[in-house]
Symmetry: C2
Subunit: 189 residues, 2 copies
């Protein structure tokens, strides 16, 4: 499984007020570089299924979430991949009904279902911080992709709490732009 | 002022038990790469004076600390630069007496003395985490050099607590090796 997530340099996936924009400039901002766009396209093309937590679902399935203009859609000539939402609070309303599967039986069940749905492609855990952190602590992460935005937020939802993991960086894959250091690691077991 | 420090990917400058070795492999390990050695040599050559906290002093001035074989010495053909130790607990014994100045009146005083001593070269704050963190919070850091080791420690002395800072990465200076992502940032004011 691949945990692919955007964080601040101090390890937060969300922060106070307007931090979301600063974090995700590389992915959805007006100041994206060509290299940023390439990173996202490569990752998107490799994605067979996505596992996400409830907060992330609320964003991407919300009215300002995934649509034909961003992330998955026009750029890829494709709809979003199958998504598995790990939550103990099933949402009352789902917008992207043909894409979203609500899983109330935990992360491992969601990963199993995602693996079956992904075919030859990869399963991406896209966050948020709570789900990503528990995936790291549970030892189900094989690869860690970090898009590290050049900002210290000072507060927010952390990703790494309590995880002790040795990593091996994929030097060749690493790309640094003004918007993010795209760092690709393998988990060493 | 330049804050130049080695951290884990989860932002700790020290961690449990044997973590120090994993963190500093790039600088003092047997597995250093040519690029790692170049990074250290470039930084060392640019250093006019060093500001450090008491924990760091205890390490570098201790019996296993700086000597002719490492960091400053044979490689550089030089002795360590003038060092200014910020502490409220002056040490009873100083080994490198001609290099170490104990400053009990705070970080800003130490930076002033270091600036005077550095001449045309740069002043480096080399840590530890407490001193580096307070330098970031106090707004006296102009450049942040991070050597990010590929490990999540899960616990230790953090660097970034409470700092909210916007940064600009120096893409051209960035180098990634198997031992560290050497990331160079300017603080944006």
């Amino acid at each position: 499984m691949i945990l692919d997530i955007t964080i601040s340099l101090d390890g937060f996936v969300t922060g106070p007020d307007d931090a979301v924009q600063a974090l995700h400039e590389w992915a959805v901002g007006d100041d994206r570089t060509e290299q940023d766009v390439e990173q996202l396209a490569t990752l998107t093309a490799a994605t067979g299924a996505v596992v996400m937590g409830r907060h992330t679902f609320d964003v991407v399935d919300g009215p300002d979430g995934w649509n034909e203009d961003m992330h998955y859609g026009a750029d890829q000539g494709d709809v979003p991949p199958p998504c598995f939402v790990v939550t103990h609070r099933p949402p009352e309303h789902v917008r992207l009904t043909d894409r979203m599967t609500i899983v109330t039986t935990g992360l491992r069940d969601a990963l199993d279902q995602a693996t079956a749905a992904a075919g030859d492609k990869d399963v991406f855990i896209m966050g948020g911080g709570e789900l990503g952190g528990s995936a790291l602590r549970d030892g189900v992460v094989d690869k860690l992709h970090l898009h590290v935005a050049p900002v210290l937020l000072g507060a927010g939802t952390g990703l790494f709490e309590g995880s002790r993991v040795t990593l091996r960086i994929d030097e060749a894959a690493t790309v640094v732009t003004r918007n993010a250091a795209h760092l690709y690691y393998d988990v060493v077991r």
